[in-house]
């Protein structure tokens, strides 16, 4: 085996009150994809931030290309050839693709930026990666997948020798992930060292050569990917085997009443003549590629986007839903795929978030009844086993999984019987993911009805009682869990696409 191009040894880092990194080891070789795994808060991102100089380490050594280094900022790390492709894409939406790729090191003609040359160079990069993107396109006009390709092109243009992918697949469709993997394999062939941070176990097995696992800021171990099983990795990450058993048949009784019926729903360009039924205690999975119109359907049902036509029945009664307020009155709650943007107010406490949708119930005269508010919040912290020191904790300080629980609590407080989960486990680590699954199963068993939109095939197959597949705004299939397979779903999800 070749020597490591980058070695981090005994890295130690403390923040006030937190030992974020406890003597961590990590190394990566040329021509290798090395996974860095661990639950949220395990210290993966902190380690990468220490590497690129965003944080300074307390002790330990970083050896890069045989020399000890200490980068003071991302720029220095970039110049040396270490680049991070960030989880939340760091692109400037209002600039063009070429302008983004060369931001910070524009080609100049005197005072003037040489846009022409930047476009030429971008085209060369895209040729190298065998992808077609117009360098003159505005970044915000591209899909998430394409934006990520641009990030990779940007990394390569830095003459990167080490590329760190920080959860690159979190927002990608299956097809885009395949493209991404093709590129990563290509980069590996070319002898680059690749660090791959992800929560998705399937991907780790497919794309990586070695896996290093971290837990609670500590180094747990490094494995050769092909010699270990998923369970080995999960065990190292959480110290116990987890995961809810996948369903083999629907757990909904055949005579369960229909609680939500949607007929011939049309909305915007993304929802075309969609009809479906949701029954009491059912988890109804919505599968499809990104842009299939699943979120748009949910938003239209919830009244967040205007409908062009279509009828909605709740508990057999026809209802008019023109706004989220109407939907909530009908007992429908919507948990957005983008928690930070739509789901919670991160700078507020758990209590304030939990009662956000129901505040009027806790008002005495003109004052908010704080003790009553706190009581109900604590009840749901308990019921959902949200991990927090107190109900007064700011939501921003919670992990992704626990933030999601706060959002769920918000709707439970509101007595919603129909819950729409849009990508409920995006950006959540394995352990927390399973807790969310457990919670969803529990809610369904208690008689709540759940619509679950998910881009993760395993999640769809694990959780749903019934699966609806969408493609380009239309419902293209409906499968009972007993007959559903990955192939059948993919076939329906890609129907009509040449």
């Amino acid at each position: 085996m070749a020597d490591a191009i980058l070695t981090m040894e005994n890295i130690d880092k403390s923040f006030p009150g937190v030992h974020a990194l406890d003597h961590v080891h990590f190394d990566v070789r040329c021509g290798e994809v090395h996974a860095l795994m661990g639950e949220n808060g395990a210290g993966k991102s902190t380690l990468m931030k220490v590497l690129t100089g965003i944080y300074t380490k307390d002790s330990g050594t970083i050896t890069y290309e045989g020399k000890e280094v200490e980068f003071r900022n991302t720029r220095e790390a970039q110049d040396a050839g270490i680049v991070i492709v960030h989880q939340e894409l760091n692109m400037v939406g209002d600039l063009t693709v070429a302008q983004n790729i060369f931001i910070g090191r524009e080609f100049m003609k005197g005072f003037k930026i040489d846009d022409k040359k930047m476009i030429e160079e971008s085209n060369k990069l895209f040729d190298e990666l065998k992808i077609s993107i117009d360098p003159k396109a505005k970044m915000s006009d591209l899909t998430v997948g394409k934006q990520q390709m641009c990030e990779i092109a940007k990394a390569i243009s830095h003459k990167a020798k080490v590329i760190v992918f920080d959860e690159p697949s979190a927002a990608l469709t299956e097809k885009e992930i395949e493209d991404l993997f093709a590129i990563i394999r290509d980069l590996r062939e070319k002898g680059l060292a690749i660090v791959y941070i992800s929560h998705r176990m399937d991907e780790i097995k497919v794309i990586t050569d070695r896996v290093t696992v971290m837990r609670d800021g500590g180094y747990i171990g490094t494995l050769i990917t092909k010699d270990c099983t998923k369970e080995d990795i999960i065990n190292m990450m959480v110290g116990r085997v987890i995961y809810e058993e996948p369903k083999t048949k629907s757990s909904v009784p055949a005579d369960a009443p229909v609680v939500l019926k949607v007929e011939h729903l049309n909305a915007g360009r993304m929802v075309k003549d969609v009809s479906f039924e949701l029954r009491k205690g059912e988890i109804l999975g919505f599968s499809g590629l990104m842009g299939a119109g699943r979120t748009e359907t949910a938003r239209a049902v919830f009244g967040a986007d205007p409908k062009t036509s279509g009828d909605i029945y709740v508990n057999g009664e026809k209802v008019t839903i023109n706004s989220p307020q109407d939907a909530v009155k009908c007992g429908i709650g919507y948990l957005s795929e983008d928690r930070k943007r739509y789901g919670i107010v991160v700078q507020k406490t758990i209590t304030e978030n939990s009662t956000l949708a129901t505040l009027e119930e806790y008002v005495k005269g003109i004052f908010i009844n704080k003790s009553e508010e706190k009581k109900i919040t604590e009840r749901y912290i308990d019921e959902l086993s949200t991990k927090t020191p107190s109900a007064d904790q700011l939501v921003v300080n919670l992990s992704g999984g626990n933030q999601q629980k706060v959002v769920i609590a918000k709707w439970l407080v509101r007595d919603c019987d129909i819950l729409i989960f849009d990508e409920p486990t995006r950006g959540i680590d394995v352990g927390a993911k399973n807790e969310i699954y457990k919670l969803m199963n529990k809610l369904a068993a208690e008689g709540k009805s759940i619509i679950m939109i998910s881009s993760e095939m395993t999640e769809i197959l694990r959780m749903s009682d019934r699966i609806i597949v969408m493609c380009e705004g239309r419902k293209t299939g409906e499968l009972d869990i007993s007959e559903a397979t990955q192939e059948k779903i993919m076939d329906k999800a890609t129907r009509d696409i040449a």
């Binding site: 991302t74 960030h86 760091n90 939406g93 209002d94 302008q99 910070g104 899909t143």
Partner: protein, 327 residues
Amino acid sequence: MNKKKPKLLSDQRFIVLLVIIALVVIYMIFSPEFRKYSSILSMLDFSYYDVLMAVGVTFPLITAGVDLSIGTGMVCYALVAGRLIRDFNCPVLVAMLLCVLFGTIVGFVNGNLIGVMGLPPFLATLCTCMITRGISSMVMATPWPTNKQPGGWFHSIFKLTFGTGRNALKLPIGFVLVVLLVLIMEFVLNHTKFGRYTIAIGSNKEAVILSGINVKFYHVMAYTICGTFAGLAAIAYAAVVPTVQPGTGAGLELDAIGGVFVGGVSATGGYGSVIGTLAGVFVIVLLKTGLPYVGLQANWQQIITGIVLIGAVMIDVAKRRRLAKEI
């Protein structure tokens, strides 16, 4: 090729140009007074300081910030420099340079408060707005030299006068200068690093930081340039008002800021053009100075300006929403 037409119509600058033409035509039809050369001349005279302030404040606004200190700042610089001329025999040229220097310093301070120390732009510049107003209210009212007095040559920067009396030929060369500055700053915005990073900061500051760019420097620059232009505006202001009054200037920045938004700078930052600003400010100026010609009280200017501004910002919001939907 047939794509070009809708593009032109959706360009806010083009719409604003149509509004300007419409306003001028309406005024000319309804007011014989407005058709006179001297009216146009005086309108232009009173537009320069607005335009200069607006060109400067375009940059903070594109970074999704704001600068509220430019109005009171402008008056303050004009006042202090004017006193230096009156009381200390300071040459007018030096006084002019001092105006620019004062403005640049205040802009630099604003930039540091916001870009380095992280104060919210509204708050930071509100403070410097109060400070400059406070300083200027301690200074006596000051007329700068008139055309005929020694040092009055500086009026010729904005208006060349040939001959005397009623037959004097007056040329508004200030307009040419202002347009030239606008074109230079448009180039700076679109084709230099400073301009590009100004846009990028307004669009996604985090991304710019992570690209390893010295964001603080460019953030400070945006406000410094804004201050420099407020200093230039002070000269234009001193050239048109008979006497610079102490403690005034509050509210003048709003005309400039309003003009920038009318000119198509995004209310959320990240997009804008200096040429658009020029056009936008002229809408404001036409409303401010033109409405009395057609018999509407000056109060109406505020109301109508407000309505125009709502329209302009709604175009921006609608544009953003449409973009968000398309993705």
